[in-house]
């Protein structure tokens, strides 16, 4: 039996990896498309159901399901972007509410197709590390995928292919006047972010049960991470996710499991009070 504290920290690391995985897509949407996407959790759920559907047909590993889930979610995301997100841009407040309605729609559709009952995929045995440390398979996968995803995002954004995205994030008018197809880039980015969420859902599906409303909690946490960390620094997003994961688990261990969520939320409130403009101080922006 391992001594508990390293186990708690390791589990916190993995939980943080989960949050980072979700936050990656959310940050892309919030930064480039400038929408608080409340349907992000629904795409996460979509990925999990795709993984379940494949597992039912004998394709056991969710790693194989992730690309398929990403493709399906990309298609849905592009459709949503073209039909709703782009046309409704004139009133920024309509966008989160519309994406929320889309999430509702998807949850109900999932309930009608797969039923409301929880479904489950086999998790596979964990690896046992030094001193009896239990290393969860899906935890490692979440952590590595989130690092890879965020690293890839950072690379794309700082390299040439990412220039249009950065310009659109900075100022859409200028980007448009330079001849960029702003509309297309917006909905393609939206689709890409949804694909990331679905891939996350597929990779994490064996860790628990798959239900239509499973995406709600990850959505909230990714929103928290992205707003507090800001969209400017990918490293800040990753570190904050890991930090919150470890903090939540440490609170559950040291204080009480019942109030770990409250502690996490209270920490977020304190962070916001201490740093009202987000934890990453950016250089002066144009108004």
């Amino acid at each position: 039996m391992a001594s508990p504290l390293p186990q708690v920290l390791l589990d916190g690391l993995f939980a943080g990896g989960t949050y980072a995985l979700m936050a990656a897509g959310m940050a892309l949407i919030l930064g480039v498309v400038k929408v608080i996407n409340l349907s992000h959790g629904a795409f996460f759920t979509l990925g999990a159901y795709v993984a379940y559907a494949l597992a039912e047909r004998g394709v056991g590993t969710p790693i194989a399901a992730a690309p398929l889930a990403a493709v399906i979610a990309f298609a849905f995301g592009v459709f949503l972007g073209k039909s709703f997100v782009n046309p409704a841009r004139s009133h920024p407040f309509a966008l989160p509410v519309g994406t929320l309605a889309c999430a509702l729609l998807f949850e109900q559709a999932a309930q009608m197709v797969w039923g409301p009952h929880p479904l489950s995929i086999e998790a596979g045995a964990p690896w046992i590390g030094p001193g009896g440390l239990v290393i969860r398979r899906w935890g490692v996968i979440a952590f590595l995928s989130s690092a890879a995803l965020l690293g890839g995002l950072k690379w794309v954004l700082s390299a040439r292919p990412g220039l249009p995205l950065r310009l659109i994030a900075e100022d859409e008018e200028i980007a448009g006047s330079l001849g960029m197809d702003v509309e297309a880039i917006r909905y393609l980015t939206f689709g890409g972010a949804c694909a990331m969420a679905a891939a996350a859902g597929a990779l994490l599906s064996p860790s628990g049960a798959v239900t239509p409303t499973m995406g709600r909690a990850p959505l909230l946490l990714s929103l928290v991470v992205v707003i507090v960390a800001g969209m400017d620094s990918v490293a800040a997003i990753f570190l904050l996710s890991i930090g919150l994961g470890i903090f939540g688990n440490a609170c559950a261990w040291l204080l009480s499991p019942q109030w770990s969520y409250v502690a996490l939320l209270a920490a977020v409130c304190l962070l916001l009070s201490a740093r009202p403009a987000g934890i990453v101080v950016t250089a002066g922006r144009r108004d």
């Binding site: 409704a88 004139s90 009133h91 009608m112 929103l223 928290v224 707003i227 969520y261 977020v268 916001l272």
Partner: protein
């Protein structure tokens, strides 16, 4: 402008008249109940609009003052034996105080940070309500938690008609109050702050104080709606503090028209009565509701009443701005916008 104003007031009067006369067509108790809940939710949506629309502070935790008042009424009447009117007053005051607290905390923040802070505060309250159990309640068994706290009401079974009219009266009074506030001096300053905080600050407006005022007033009305709700239902549950309820207020405001006060009321009433009152099969109901939201927001992203107002003021404004003409003379520039 005078035309547009009396136009609006005419429609409002017609609407209220309709609602007053509706019970005379003898609908059954269920329909009256749906309307009663609808009136209370409409008042709640309007109170969101005071904070999120008029003052531009998008709050995703507006269920907090609503639920705080609900729980205050329930706890004070059941555990402390307070008379109902006193408990309701205490609930509304508590909601206002909670609002002041939220306003103080969110004053230095802007935009999505306010939304996040209010969301976090609302979720903390919800977790506390679900997680806290009173182990020695009256009767010797556990109270609270997800089961909620009952309210000790002086009446056994309220007549659906009296509930309906009481809720309607409350909605009219509350909306009137909120409309007056939004058109008052303070309201205009809040709109200015919402429009451009930097300009307002440069003009010497104490922004933090006004943000706090917006939250306090909006939360007070939300608390009143919460107290009314808990009197109608008879029980304060954790759902009264839930994120879903907070989102619902924001949704009604988006569909109705942010900043119009009347828009969220109309949207809340229409959506609630249609979707709860028509007794559709559950899956169809949720699908249709979500589709209605999407389609409405796609074609009226500024909200239904908001878009109607823009349209009316554009038409009315053109009318007022044009110099008077003699009848019958064709004017070539007439049809152009």
């Amino acid at each position: 402008m005078r035309n547009a104003a009396s136009f609006r007031e005419g429609w409002l009067a017609a609407g209220i008249g309709l609602l007053l006369l509706f019970p005379l067509s003898s609908p059954d108790a269920f329909f009256l109940d749906v309307f009663t809940t609808g009136f209370l939710l409409a008042a709640f949506a309007a109170s969101w609009d005071v904070v999120g629309g008029v003052s531009g502070q998008i709050t995703l935790g507006h269920a907090l003052p609503f639920g705080a008042a609900a729980y205050a009424c329930a706890l004070l009447t059941t555990f402390a034996g307070w008379p109902l009117p006193l408990a309701v007053a205490a609930g509304v005051l508590l909601a206002a105080a909670v609002g002041a607290g939220i306003g103080t905390l969110s004053a230095p923040l802007a935009g999505p940070f306010v939304a996040l802070l209010t969301l976090a505060l609302g979720e903390i309250a919800h977790e506390a309500a679900v997680g806290h159990t009173f182990f020695s309640g009256p009767g010797g068994y556990a109270w609270g938690g997800e089961g909620g706290i009952p309210v000790a009401l002086p009446w056994r079974d309220a007549s659906p008609f009296s509930s309906y009219y009481a809720a309607l009266a409350f909605l009219c009074l509350a909306s009137f109050g909120m409309l007056r506030f939004s058109r008052s001096g303070a309201g205009l300053i809040l709109r200015a702050v919402a429009g451009s905080p930097i300009t307002a600050q440069a003009s010497g407006v104490p922004i933090a104080r006004f943000k706090r005022l917006a939250f306090t007033v909006g939360s007070a009305f939300a608390g009143a709606a919460g107290a009314g709700f808990v009197l109608h239902v008879g029980r304060a549950t954790a759902t009264d503090l839930s994120l879903e309820l907070s989102f619902q207020a924001a949704t009604f405001a988006a569909v109705g028209g942010r900043g119009t006060i009347v828009g969220p009321v109309v949207a809340a009433l229409v959506l609630h009565v249609l979707f709860q009152g028509l007794s559709l099969p559950p899956s169809a109901r949720v699908l249709l509701y979500a589709l209605t939201l999407l389609v409405t927001l796609r074609f009226f992203p500024g909200g239904v009443v908001g878009t109607a107002r823009d349209l009316a003021s554009r038409l009315g404004g053109k009318e007022a701005a044009r110099p008077p003409r003699r009848r019958g003379r064709n004017n070539p520039g007439e049809g152009t916008p």
